[in-house]
């Protein structure tokens, strides 16, 4: 067990709530659903009491669980049959930021996930592959397709990197 690992709920929430909520918000598209997912993730941590080898392992577990909770959310019959309310986020995005967010939100779920993990959480393709349990080449191809879609939607390169 690493000395950096957190056990106290308040410390865990303080350390990871932003990341978990931001990830959920980036994937499920609206604040209310993101709050629900965040709660599910932290309750899951308490219920399952996973054994972590390090703080990084703990963070990766939370991220993976968030992604899977979001996946569960996408697949729920309720979600498929209903349209969420068009809730505006209280943070004032610039028009350019809103346009990019809308374009990313319009991506298929799996593309949005790799784009988020790569650009926002700073994981490499190899790390994303490990995190999501999919081949690295699949991550790379999903990123390439996502960038292509974003380039079309935004009428300009999303990123120079291949």
């Amino acid at each position: 067990m690493s000395a950096c690992m957190l056990h106290d709920p308040a410390e865990i929430v303080e350390a990871y709530a932003d990341m978990v909520y931001r990830t959920a918000y980036g994937l499920v598209k609206n604040p209310a659903d993101a709050e629900d997912v965040a709660q599910e993730v932290f309750l899951s941590l308490v219920r399952t009491k996973p054994s972590f080898e390090s703080a990084e392992h703990q963070k990766a577990w939370l991220l993976r669980t968030t992604v899977n909770k979001c996946k569960d959310h996408f697949k729920s019959a309720w979600q498929r049959r209903t349209q969420g309310l068009d809730e505006s986020f209280s943070v004032p995005f610039t028009p350019e930021e809103s346009a990019v967010l809308d374009a990313v939100r319009a991506l298929p779920d799996k593309y949005r996930t790799v784009i988020y993990l790569y650009y926002i959480e700073g994981y490499s393709a190899k790390e994303i592959a490990q995190l999501l349990g999919i081949p690295q080449n699949t991550v790379l191809s999903q990123m390439a397709r996502a960038r292509k879609l974003l380039k079309t939607a935004l009428k300009g390169d999303f990123d120079d990197a291949l």
Partner: protein, 351 residues
């Protein structure tokens, strides 16, 4: 760059102090809550493992057909597969249907009673109703709120057993599990949650593209572009699977190498792994299909188009012949010149 705007926007998103307080309260409440073993809603009890295997065996051709298309996704449990695919077997799931029809007849609460019980319950820190009941007192319908993952794993095992797949569960949480199911050379990523079970073909051709990818990377590195290789996968309408390989372009590479370093190689594989076609196109031109041809034919075509016929690279890949044996194929690429554009031809020859 739009990615900077994306980072900037997402950087503004954070959990509010109110949400953090709720999360802490919820975690603390969960930690201190008595962990009574809840009686499970018998959602799966009506279908025994044996019955499920028998029913699924009848439905297996349907599943295999869909799996052959590289993806199988369902909206329900094994019972729903069974009921949809083999209606004559519905007597096997009759107990479950009887429960659905008359829960109170089995001593459980009906929906209005559950609602009334929840309405009378005290609220927790998040405003959700709480029930302080021992396991034996818990209304039969309520455990639906707490998914039974052991039952979920059983459902997945029933399905994979019926399909002849060997399941390995790699991660299991309270409402979903993920893992891998293997049969012969085929590997399926497994994901199961409240909405169903999903099997996605991940590497039936994995050996083929991984090996070809390695060969391409080696070739690419020898030409100074870093040796990175990328691939993409597609599912075609007829259920065949496309695997595409290409190497990365390096801005530092010599211009004369660009045509080669951006070479895309496409292999279309049948369900049994047989190579149906192979193609190559410079600069990732999608939809370019070149007929499968011999090494000599490809070389002659390259010469006819003004190229020097020199081989630009070759890669060894393998294709499953359907019985689990891997048949090696060589991919040969030749340079040619057409209207000043450099292109690459490819052929595949079974070794």
């Amino acid at each position: 760059m739009h990615c900077d705007e994306y980072r900037s926007a997402m950087g503004k998103v954070s959990a509010s102090p109110e949400l953090k307080a709720k999360l802490v309260a919820a975690m603390e409440a969960e930690e201190t809550a008595p962990r009574a073993k809840t009686r499970r809603f018998p959602v799966r009890a009506g279908l025994t493992a044996a019955a499920a295997a028998a029913v699924l065996a009848l439905a297996a051709p349907v599943f295999l057909g869909r799996i052959g298309g590289a993806s199988l996704s369902t909206n329900g449990t094994a019972q729903q597969y069974a009921a949809a695919a083999a209606p004559e077997e519905t007597q096997d799931v009759a107990p479950q249907m009887a429960f659905d029809a008359a829960p109170e007849a089995q001593g459980r609460m009906n929906q209005s009673e559950v609602s009334a019980t929840l309405a009378d319950a005290p609220a927790d820190a998040l405003g959700n109703p709480t029930l302080d009941l021992a396991a034996d007192e818990l209304p039969g319908a309520l455990p639906l709120l707490e998914p039974d993952t052991s039952g979920l794993e059983n459902d997945v095992r029933n399905l994979t057993d019926a399909l002849g797949l060997t399941l390995t569960v790699t991660q299991q949480e309270d409402s979903w599990l993920s893992g891998e199911a293997v049969a012969g050379g085929a590997v399926y990523a497994v994901w199961a949650g409240s909405s169903g079970i999903e099997l996605s073909l991940t590497s039936e051709a994995g050996l083929a593209y991984e090996d070809a990818s390695g060969a391409l990377a080696q070739w690419s590195a020898s030409r100074g572009n870093g040796g990175e290789t990328y691939s993409a996968e597609n599912e075609s309408a007829d259920g065949a699977r496309e695997v595409r390989l290409w190497t990365a372009e390096d801005s530092g590479a010599a211009a004369s190498l660009l045509a080669y370093t951006r070479t895309a190689v496409t292999a279309t594989l049948a369900q049994d792994g047989t190579v149906l076609s192979l193609s190559a196109a410079p600069r990732l031109t999608e939809g370019t299909e070149l007929a499968l041809r011999s090494e000599d034919e490809a070389r002659e075509e390259a010469l006819a188009e003004g190229g020097d016929g020199a081989e630009t690279h070759r890669a060894l890949c393998y294709a499953d012949n359907g019985s689990g044996a891997l048949v090696p194929h060589y991919l040969f690429c030749f340079s040619s010149e057409t209207g000043g554009e450099t292109s690459v031809l490819v052929s595949a020859v079974q070794q």
